[in-house]
Amino acid sequence: MLPFLRRAVFIGLVAGLVIAHLSLVGLVVKLDDRDLITRLVSLGVMIPVITAFVAGFLAAAPRRAPETIEPGAATALLSGAVGGLFTGLLVAVMAWLIEAVNVHGVLVNASPLLVKTLHLGLDAVPGSLALVLGSAGLGVLGAAIRVLPASIRRGVLTGLVAVTGLALMQTFVGQILTGLGLKAVNSFLYARDGMTIAGALVALVAFGVSGWAWADRRDDVRQRFRSLGSAQRTSVRLVWLAIAVIILLTPPLYAGSFLSQALDLIGIYILLGLGLNIVVGFAGLLDLGYVAFYAVGAYATAVLTSPVSPFFAPHINFWVAVPIVMAITALIGLTIGAPVLRLRGDYLAIVTLGFGEIARIIFLSDWMTPYVGGAQGILQIPPPQIFGIDLRQPERLYYPILGACIIAAIAAISLARSRVGRAWTAMREDESVAEASGVNTTKYKLLAFSLGATFGGLAGALYAVRIGSVFPQDLNIIVSINALALIILGGIGSIPGVVIGAIVLVGLPEVLREFSEYRLLIYGIVLVAMMLLRPEGLLPNRSRRAELHKGEGEDEEAWDEEVWNRETGAETPEPMIT
């Protein structure tokens, strides 16, 4: 028991430091204005609450080294309490220090307001007590989560996460509910500022119960599905497909302009991710200058379609321009690909990084200004039209972007499962062996580069018509980094991963808007945590997961044992030869 308690103290103190840090950067006070549940729980208060809860949860975790020891229920709860207690103690000491010593001049955020928030609005002594005891109580609750049976734990966590999510995304959920004509539901769930108490309780119970039920029956449902006849299975799949189609097609009808804008941007990043995934994920060529293709796509579209483009007078229709733009970017992909074919790994990354910067600087240069407008960019890019309908509004532009994403995803999947995809994977695994097995590595590298470039060009074209103008300074290395980050976040080489990665990476900053200047701090924390907890990405393809978790599994041991068996002749399977 003692090792558990010692660890609980440590975890508690670390959690306390986390709270102290977030308090002193001003996050707690700042977010205290934003109510999650109206007049009851503010986002600011949620920071210490969640931290103490997590501290309890972690303190009650089974110990791994040197051997796995599961704590008993009593030990777990006690560890949780100790963890929470020390979290609270540290924060209480900090609060007391802030009151006793005036450090307001140095630490701007160490204000009486912060102390008041941490003391839950109470006076010094009862406030400190409430803080410490509440924190210990939260630690116990966190530990209790561990002690509960798996299905109930799943239910409780689903409920809590759902309520927090609903409260955080009030603007979006409210917009969608109103758009769907469910005003009554909206006003039941949300007050003007935060969720209503009744709404939060109902959501907690509803999501909790369904989370619990699903955790309990998941295997049964899968079993039943497997035992169905093939005709029935097909019809079940068709129903799911129909639901997916409806979910994909309808958002513009209820999502409103702001959310549609976010969706459009996510779609463009999905396209970028799919293209870069061919180069990095499939073929294993680390390209850090992917923005070059995006920029060429955007500029080519602008030059071809804008009536005010300085050099190309006839402004042609967007739909005619798109294939031309894709062809141009494919060619650029070939020309950039050709000289860097010999480079591998880090060297390739550095050179492509250079190409990305070159693209931006060329578009900005005096030399190109007569053609692409230099720093002034190109304006008045007309929106695409379908049957005479202008697609300028984000709600309408959603459809061509969705179409492009679906086509690109299907194309990427088809390629991955073909002779071409196999050749790429082989090249990624071992280039010289791929060559010695008959793969023309030169050709397949160029193919990966130019196909990836084509996707990037298409994304650029859609970006240009979405904004209606292009400027060189928007097409910088951040785009490359984001595209690469979303692939890694989703799981390298995985196509569903690209979609999830784009939603998280591009969608999250939109959701986090109300955190204002702390937005990027939180975003960074989420990314770091993600990569530590799930280095293989959110939806990895299976081989990556194996690679990154090989130390934890028994793969290698099994292998060694097998070798040993063979070498000692303990087990010698007969080959087919007679």
């Binding site: 088809s414 390629l415 097995s437 196909l451 194996a546």
Partner: protein, 281 residues
């Protein structure tokens, strides 16, 4: 010993050795010389692999076996001399072109596509015999799908042939036990329908039981697939047991060639392997 001749002249003549003129050879190397700066790794090596034979290339460490091997697979280009596969010169061609012409190989230290399935490894080997273009793959044309099915079937046949259980086909290559990885490498090489199979120390790291099985497999493959096989091997038991002809290299030069019996009693070979005193005593 003759002086090394200029490359162009040697290649244009490409005259087979008088002694080998009559044999039906799948591979014929004439006067192959490979220099690395001042170092001569192969000097004027003449070498013939008769059709449907199993030939071994042996020699002490540093004798130039691997250099010669790499010239046959296109990893290196000879400084002078010519190598012909069925009358077509392979000098100056890239490795994948040589695979297409009909030479398959394995590696001394197993090199599989570790994070691909066993079946996919073999299917990569089939790459050069497939026609699907990227456009066809993108559009999933019926012909492409048919070819994919045929390739899968062929890959499974090859797994059977080398004695790998079909239960393994979905497993990643790197999870296979050592001996099976060797077999998988051979299956991958066979998938390109080679006329000539080059095996670089196929029994390295194997126990006697496995070595015996591998020897049996090599003979079996030759009979089943009408292959010619070239072995580089250190295990003399394997070499003597399986080869019909043996070529011995020492300091980059061919010092002997003949049947296992002839090689066993050849004084120059004994000298090369055991030193001068062994022959004197």
């Amino acid at each position: 010993m003759t002086e090394p001749q200029p490359a162009a002249e040697t290649r244009s003549e490409a005259a087979p050795d008088a002694a080998d003129a009559g044999t039906d050879a799948v591979l014929r190397a004439s006067k192959v010389t490979m220099r690395f700066g001042g170092l001569v790794a192969n000097r004027d090596v003449d070498f013939v692999i008769p059709r449907r034979s199993i030939v071994s290339l042996i020699g002490p460490n540093g004798a130039g076996k691997t250099t010669f091997f790499n010239q046959m697979t296109g990893m290196l280009t000879p400084t002078s001399g010519d190598i012909q596969l069925d009358g077509t010169s392979i000098v100056g061609r890239t490795p994948h072109e040589i695979v297409e012409l009909g030479i398959g190989r394995t590696f001394q230290n197993i090199r599989l596509f570790n994070e691909m399935s066993v079946l996919a490894n073999v299917m990569v080997g089939r790459h050069v015999r497939m026609r699907a273009s990227w456009v066809g793959s993108l559009l999933r044309l019926p012909a492409v799908r048919r070819e994919e099915e045929e390739t899968t079937e062929r890959a499974r046949e090859l797994l059977d042939l080398v004695g790998l259980s079909r239960a393994y086909e979905g497993e990643w290559a790197r999870n296979l036990p050592y001996g099976d990885q060797r077999r998988l490498e051979i299956a991958r090489a066979l998938a390109s329908d080679p006329k000539l199979l080059l095996l670089d120390e196929p029994t390295a790291g194997m126990n006697p039981g496995e070595t015996a099985q591998m020897t049996k497999l090599i003979g079996h493959l030759r009979d089943q697939l009408n292959l010619s096989v070239l072995l580089i091997e250190h295990d003399m038991k394997v070499v003597m047991g399986v080869s019909e002809r043996i070529t011995v290299l020492d300091y980059g030069e061919k010092i002997a060639e003949g049947t296992p019996e002839e090689i066993r009693s050849n004084p120059r070979v004994i000298e090369a392997y055991l030193g001068k005193q062994a022959t004197a005593s």
